[in-house]
Amino acid sequence: MKLYAVKLLTVTCEILAQKDVIEILKKHGITGYTTYEVDGNGARGIRGQGFKNEKNVKIEIIMREDKLQDVVEEISRTLFADFATVLYVSDVSVVRAEKF
């Protein structure tokens, strides 16, 4: 079974910024992603106590390398200043490269 190299982009951000991230993905023609709520600690303090809106969410997107740069650039530009956000990129292999 041949595996194909693609990129996995992971964005950890405030739950209220999730919509913005997905909007950006959509703008770049990406509709596949996985999300889940997480707690966390970082420069903006502990998150995940108290109201649900103060939790974080992780958004994971498997994508081809060619879209990565633009997406990362737009998320950094529009969200880093105002929202608690961390993103990282890793290398993964998939079976059906055409799916992404």
Partner: protein, 361 residues
Amino acid sequence: MDILQLIQSNLLTPVILFFLFGIIAARIKSDLKIPEAISEFLPIYLLAAIGLHGGIEMRNTGFENMLIPMLVAICLSLLFTLNHYQILRRLGNLSIFDSYALASTYGAVGAVTFSVGLSFLKNQGVASEGYLAAVLAVLEPVAFILAIFLTNMAVSKQIRTKKQSFVKDNASGIDVGFQETRTKLSQILHESITGKAIVILLGSIVIGYVIGESGFASIKIVFDDMFTGAIVIFMIEMGIVAGQRLDDIKKVGVFLTAFAVIVPTFNGVIGVLVATAMGLSLGGAVMFGLLLASASFIAAPAVLRHAIPQANPSLYITSALGITFPYNIIVLLPVMFTVSTFVHNMEGSIDLFHYVLKDWV
């Protein structure tokens, strides 16, 4: 009962005591916590109960009388929001974003505060006009919309000024900016009027109106008898969340702390007086005042974080939840009740004003 006695007797109700208990639990770093699903469900439940109750009342008493109080509440809410902005920006020297965010947080209403108000009145054996639930629903988005509109205006003016000075030739850029502002505004408008609080509240009012007392009988135990017990449970969580934020009050500063106490008092007392002038009952005037006095700490972040992302959420959440909310339910409610009792006893003059007002409309 004088005002201090009233504050004391209010302080010793389960609702307030469990709130204080929650604060203490948070301060001693206990791991006590109401599970998320429960504390997300309780506001929905409380709003459904408030709405049903309001709807049934409106069926009993008609809603002809609702129009004026509703419009007056909207006007006051808008005026107060503008007033807050001036205070925050001029006196407080806060950024334009923080000023608008805080202005609308205090212009908006707090559904939890409203619930506590209802249970306070129940405790005093005093009723209030059912249609105030509808006012609650309508008031919720008003302040936000104004604040968001003004913020967007301010931002696009800034952008325009920048553009004009730097890249004189790029006129379409401004149009795009305007376009974006308008899109964003309509989007946020949609978001805030389809927000869960308003939707469940309005829905329940309509359903309450339709089913009336008799249709309500089969669900009365859940949506009426259990109401205060449910508030108590929610207040534990509110106390815990408020307690966790108590450290942040330092960051809020003296000015904002004063603002978070004085402004609600002013708004609330004005509210009580105006409501009395409009002929609302003793309890109704208190609830009307509470609507204007309360600040929003659940709906606010959800809307403002998108609408004015540049504003610092810990400022508006901490002051609304950590200072204003406890102050409102512990001190201001009894104060407004006393004021309302006082002005309702000198009925003559007020009624006069009321008739004048009625004639005028």
